[in-house]
Amino acid sequence: MGSRASTLLREEEIEEIKKETGFSHSQITRLYSRFTSLDKGENGTLSREDFQRIPELAINPLGDRIINAFFPEGEDQVNFRGFMRTLAHFRPIEDNEKSKNAAVSEPLNSRTNKLLFAFQLYDLDRDDKISRDELLQVLRMMVGVNISDEQLGSIADRTIQEADTNGDNSISFNEFIKVLEKVDVEQKMSIRFLH
């Protein structure tokens, strides 16, 4: 017991995470508290089971895809840095950031990076294209058993048809951006912290 949350996370680490992700000091401390409360094994990393223990995530139709996004290729554990890096995609874009100099590499929560995150959740094999099969797989996850294969297939075809501009029967990242250009991604893919 005792003040686990603040003593195990050193100041230098907090500074590094702040620089990498842009979260504030208090947000990082709170998220660390959350991370440790999810970490039932108390070994400093989260496994897929730790995520699935969250009931609201377990009932989310795309829950497995979201959990997957936290784990780098082929790994089964994610540490706090990796956890924060993924969460950083959902940090709201503040006004004063928009005017930052272009020399700084694009922050993790820029519009493009948010869209890239969403794109990668569709693009299961990471070949930079959303094929008809991949789209069907995600659709199937979202609707369960309630829609027939043919109907789902026609929905997928229609979606690809409308998005595809270069005729390769799949959706590339640029085509994806174009389709969602009117969606307020900055707002809709952000988690607003209460201070």
């Binding site: 017991m1 009931p55 829609i147 409308e162 389709v179 969606v183």
Partner: protein, 436 residues
């Protein structure tokens, strides 16, 4: 040296016997605990102010937030998806690539902060109550505060703990001896009266053993014979709290060891309902036995905790409908602990019974409000599950607790697949709604 020790012991026993046991038998109080609580409140308020003042100077130490750490999107799936679509391309109301964003958003929100998993660990306090165990985010603030904490440790472990342990031992042994003696008597109203006296005294002594201050509200709604009392469950001490004001028939599994001894001796003086582990699995056996107990209108009201597990007293979780199928009148009771004086929640995955009791006995005190709600009966049109929900809402409202539909069993088990299928069904109906 020996003479002093003997004298000390005699004084100790005198204090315990006359100042605790006798008043306990008659339900009186000498007011010592009341004064103690008042003093504590003052000290804790002072501590809170000091901490807040220091906080304003030291930046970067976040206050615990009572309502969660993020702003939730809110709204139903329909609204969420619609909002995303409204800005995007219109594909005739069918699927749109932006739909998935809704699920990602809600998924990430639940990873950062969800309403369920926090119920299975102790509540985070707004300010420190000078107990190390609740110190989650409070760093060293000032010398005076640390001094108070040190004094507190000495008082709690050195003075209060031995005192309380003595009381607990006396209380429990009195229960065993008393019930055995009463059990020897033939069945009569005198026996029942004596049995009640023994039980009440034991529980009152135990309550004093925890420095428990219990405030009962609406005593006119107290459970009657032949009824079923349901309450929200936070800790095994709930039983002591409720039994201080009335006698109940306990329901539970037969245990071995000390618990088993207590169970058997309690059964000698008045009927309780203890089940073998094998019987617990068969719902019909359980329901029938309880029904028989209730039908004999002369028996004590049954005490049941329908959540089935301990939750952390910030919310009420799903009530299992089994208790509501028995029939009879339900007497709901809401129990709310004041977390400033000690964390009563039993986190059974973290602490076993013995360490839990030790923690309880080294807290400042246990201050609890008990509200007796008016009796409820199942209406014609509702089934057991709906009735259970109605009772749950009433208890949640009275106790100022959050009313959740999630199953307390999620503490240990996984959520059922049917809930995910519900979500999928909901989404499918959205994208097929405008199908030609």
């Amino acid at each position: 040296m020996e003479g002093v020790a003997v004298w000390f012991f005699q004084l100790w026993m005198f204090v315990v016997l006359f100042l605790i046991m006798l008043p306990a038998m008659f339900g009186l109080s000498l007011g010592v605990t009341g004064v103690y609580i008042q003093g504590l409140v003052h000290i804790l308020e002072w501590a809170t102010l000091r901490i807040q003042r220091e906080r304003e100077q030291q930046s970067g130490v976040p206050d615990p937030l009572p309502n969660g750490i993020i702003e939730r999107g809110g709204g139903s799936m329909q609204e969420g998806v619609g909002r995303l679509r409204g800005d995007g391309p219109s594909t005739g109301g069918l699927f749109s690539l932006s739909d998935a964003l809704f699920f990602y958003q809600t998924g990430l929100e639940s990873i950062v902060d969800d309403t369920v998993t926090q119920r299975f660990s102790s509540e985070e306090l707004n300010s420190w109550n000078l107990l190390t165990r609740t110190n989650q985010n409070f760093r060293y603030i000032s010398l005076r505060l640390t001094l108070f904490w040190g004094v507190g440790v000495f008082v709690r472990y050195g003075l209060l703990l031995p005192f309380r342990v003595t009381l607990a031992v006396i209380g429990l042994s009195w229960l065993v001896i008393g019930t055995v003696l009463v059990g020897l008597l033939p069945e009569s109203s005198v026996k029942n009266w004596l049995s009640e006296l023994v039980h009440l005294t034991c529980y009152r002594v135990c309550a004093r053993g925890l420095s428990a201050t219990i405030l009962y509200h609406n005593k006119e709604n107290r459970p009657q014979k032949g009824g079923i009392c349901v309450a929200n469950h936070t800790t095994p001490i709930d039983i002591v709290i409720l039994a201080n004001d009335g006698c109940y028939a306990m329901v539970g599994q037969v245990h071995g060891g000390l618990m088993g001894v207590l169970q058997r001796s309690m059964s000698r003086s008045c009927p309780h309902v203890w089940f073998e582990r094998s019987e617990m699995k068969d719902r019909h056996t359980v329901t029938n036995r309880l029904r028989a107990h209730v039908a004999a209108r002369t028996k004590l009201p049954i005490l049941i905790f329908p959540e089935g597990t301990c939750v952390n007293n910030t919310s009420v979780m799903m009530f299992k409908k089994g208790s509501f199928e028995i029939g009879g009148t339900i007497y709901p009771v809401a129990i709310k602990y004041d977390a400033r004086f000690g964390d009563a929640f039993w986190n059974s995955s973290k602490y076993n019974m013995v360490s839990y009791v030790l923690r309880m006995m080294t807290s400042w005190a246990i201050v609890v409000n008990v509200w007796y709600l008016p009796p409820m009966e199942r209406q014609e049109e509702e089934d057991a599950a709906q009735f259970a929900n109605r009772v749950k809402s009433a208890i949640a409202q009275q106790g100022g607790l959050l009313d959740l539909d999630w199953d307390g069993g999620l503490k240990r088990g996984k959520v059922k697949d049917s809930f995910r299928e519900e979500q999928q069904k909901q989404y499918s109906s959205i994208i097929t709604a405008t199908d030609q």
